[in-house]
Amino acid sequence: MQMNKDSTPGWADRPEIRQRIRYGLYAACVLLLLAELVVNRHTVMPLENLPAFYPLYGFLSLITVVLLSKGLRRLVGRSEEYYEERYDEGRDDNVA
């Protein structure tokens, strides 16, 4: 029974459900954009008055975060044993 259950993909792994979730997100995004036309937004700052400021900002922020992080990884990424090597070096020192 357990084996049987494991071999069939769970709901979150089924392509049609993943697609449905994605389409739901697209629909929500479109609705939220349209809502801006209906809702009279009160704003404090001039930037907020730009059409679709928040959606654009959210989208671009996230792209920026992820792409910059990839760059950061190249800069600071090291092997998992990076800090452990200290001990080996110490031993080498002692041997020398």
């Binding site: 259950k5 494991d6 769970g10 979150a12 792994d13 994605r22 997100l25 697209y26 929500a28 995004c29 939220l32 954009l33 809502a35 801006e36 809702v39 937004r41 009160h42 704003t43 404090v44 700052m45 930037l47 907020e48 679709a52 928040y54 959606p55 654009l56 900002y57 959210g58 989208f59 671009l60 922020s61 996230l62 792209i63 920026t64 975060v65 992820v66 792409l67 910059l68 992080s69 990839k70 950061l72 990884r73 600071v76 990424g77 090291r78 092997s79 998992e80 044993e81 990076y82 800090y83 200290r86 070096e89 020192d93």
Partner: protein
């Protein structure tokens, strides 16, 4: 009506009893401490003060006002959840350390003078270290030591600042200090270390992921929140805090994206949330201050919930790395749902608690005209969604199925997570629950159409960006790695410099010694050349040649003095 007692007492008593009891009795005692303490606190009125006269020193060991009272409620609630989450643990050391730790946090927020604050501040650092050491592996021993050094450093700065402040002003009372004197800078730095100021923050990302699955939950609830309290009390409206806070909110986002250890992702995320609070304190208006402390309150619940869910995963599977996890939603459905609630909350979706507290800080920024800061904080808000809102649940519970053997964690863990999740939603839906206990007078309505709409727009399109990156293959895969951070300075650079220094000293001393030895050799050779048995000066001279030389000397003498 309970008689009036210091809030530290029930926890101290429970710690002592927890050391000598076990089983259900110990569980009951430890759960009773925050319950009794919390019920007692509900009856305490702001303005209550207890003073102790020690020699000529007047110490205010217990001072209740609206600010300390709010943190008092928070810490009792946090302690209850932590204790509940750790109830299955058999390790006495963790229980005792946990109770002392939670009690010290209460002692610190009710301390009316800087010396009492220092005592609880140090106790807080020391007791929490044992929650890291309790993991009892090589990593936790060294990480705990580094953690402790930061805690002690913070305490030393606090003590030095307190004594200097006392010398300068003649008062030890802990109230608004402001950055005026050198003493105040020491206090500011002391508080700043525990707030996770940039470059001084690595004790969080180093220590928290090294603690036990339950210990991390304790750690995330108290130390940094005590520091936020101290900052709010001592340095409200200090402009520098705005800039420090905005940096704290932004830079951990990038590290969180590439970090593989999911508990360390949450530690970075914590610094990011602390950044929001620090900015709020820096702005200093009643609305911003309320936002900062309200966010601290909510953070204990939602960050606690996320740490609990990762603790549950670690407890059940023994794994904590994104590369090792995945697909647990089928075996741990309840934990998955609870984790997702935490993720939705920290991302500040409407109807979840962070929405009603973070928005106060953001609104305060706009009201005060800090537009540049606001833009940066909005960026940070979108960043939170990526690492805490999506990455944590996705890599642990969805994504690639790692095929791990797993089941739901013990019922006490589920209960603790459940209560935290319910509170995250309840506070989000009924903000008045939290607003009623906020210390400053600043009416605020979080739910208006504009605000809900723009927040949903921001979040929905940020998720859209993740989907886009994922589907276009640009989303970075998780890789097992260590990412260098400021800790590199003291874990790598300083030891390297030290080794280089040792080498320079040893080479120099070798050279000096070699020169000295060569000198000695030369001297000894010279001496022995002339004084060794067959040497020129050690030779035995015949009497005849002696007489001859005397005659020569006399002859020369005669020649020289013969005018």
């Amino acid at each position: 009506m309970l008689p009036d007692f210091h809030p530290f007492l029930p926890f101290l008593l429970a710690a002592l009893l927890a050391a000598v009891t076990s089983g259900w009795l110990r569980s009951a005692i430890m759960l009773a401490a925050p319950v009794i303490g919390g019920l007692h606190l509900l009856g305490v009125e702001p303005g209550t003060v207890q003073q102790w006269q020690i020699m000529n020193l007047e110490l205010v060991v217990y001072r209740v006002d609206e600010l300390s009272l709010m943190f008092g409620y928070l810490f009792h609630l946090g302690a209850f959840l932590c204790v509940l989450f750790a109830l299955h643990v058999k390790d006495t050391m963790q229980h005792v350390a946990g109770m002392i730790y939670a009690g010290s946090a209460l002692g610190a927020v009710f301390a009316g003078d800087l010396l009492t604050l220092f005592v609880f501040w140090e106790l807080l650092g020391l007791s929490s270290t044992f929650l890291i050491w309790a993991a009892r592996d090589e990593r936790s021993v060294s990480a705990g030591m580094r953690y402790l050094i930061f805690q002690v450093l913070s305490g030393v700065l606090l003590l030095a600042g307190a004594l200097w402040h006392w010398y300068g002003t003649g008062s030890l009372v802990f109230e608004e200090i402001g950055l005026g004197s050198a003493a105040s800078w020491l206090l500011f730095l002391g508080f700043g270390i525990k707030c996770g100021f940039p470059l001084l923050h690595n004790w969080i990302t180093d220590g928290y992921p090294a603690a036990t699955p339950t210990g991390t939950v304790f750690l995330c609830a108290f130390t940094t929140k005590v520091a936020i309290y101290a900052m709010a009390r001592g340095f409200p409206g200090t402009e520098l805090l705005i800039y420090i806070g905005v940096f704290m909110a932004c830079y951990p986002i990038f590290f969180a994206v590439i970090e593989n250890d999911l508990r360390r992702v949450l530690a970075y995320s914590m610094i990011n949330q602390l950044g929001f609070m620090v900015v709020g304190i820096g702005v200093g208006t009643a609305l911003a201050m309320n936002g900062a402390v309200a966010h601290a309150f909510n953070d204990v619940l939602f960050k606690g919930l996320l740490f609990m869910s990762m603790g549950a995963v670690l407890y059940v599977t023994g794994r904590y790395k994104a590369t090792d996890l995945g697909g647990l939603y089928r075996k741990m459905p309840i934990t998955t749902v609870l984790c997702v609630v935490g993720a939705l909350t920290i991302s500040a979706f409407p109807l979840f608690s962070a929405f009603i507290s973070k928005s106060m800080i953001m609104t305060a920024l706009l009201n005060e005209g800090h537009w540049g800061i606001w833009v940066a904080m909005l960026f940070a808000s979108a960043g939170v969604l990526e690492h805490a809102g999506i990455k944590i649940p996705y890599f642990a519970f969805f994504g690639h199925d790692a095929g791990l053997d797993a089941r739901e964690p013990p019922v006490n863990m589920l209960l603790a997570m459940g209560v935290a999740a319910v509170l995250c939603v309840a506070i989000g839906v009924f903000p008045a629950m939290l607003y009623n206990i906020l210390p400053y007078d600043a009416p605020y309505t979080p739910y208006d159409t504009t605000h809900v709409l723009v927040q949903l727009q921001l979040l929905a399109f940020a998720i859209l960006a993740v989907v886009y990156l994922h589907r276009s293959g640009r989303y970075p895969a998780e890789v097992p790695s260590v990412n260098l951070d400021a800790e590199w300075l003291y874990r790598r650079l300083v030891p390297k410099l030290y080794r280089a220094l040792v080498q320079v000293v040893s080479i120099t001393s070798g050279l000096v010694r070699a020169c000295f030895r060569a000198g000695l050799n030369f001297g000894a050779g010279y001496l022995s050349a002339h004084h060794r048995p067959a040497g020129f000066l050690a030779r035995t001279w015949p009497t005849g040649s002696m007489v001859l030389w005397v005659a020569v000397l006399l002859g020369v003498y005669l020649l020289l003095y013969f005018p």
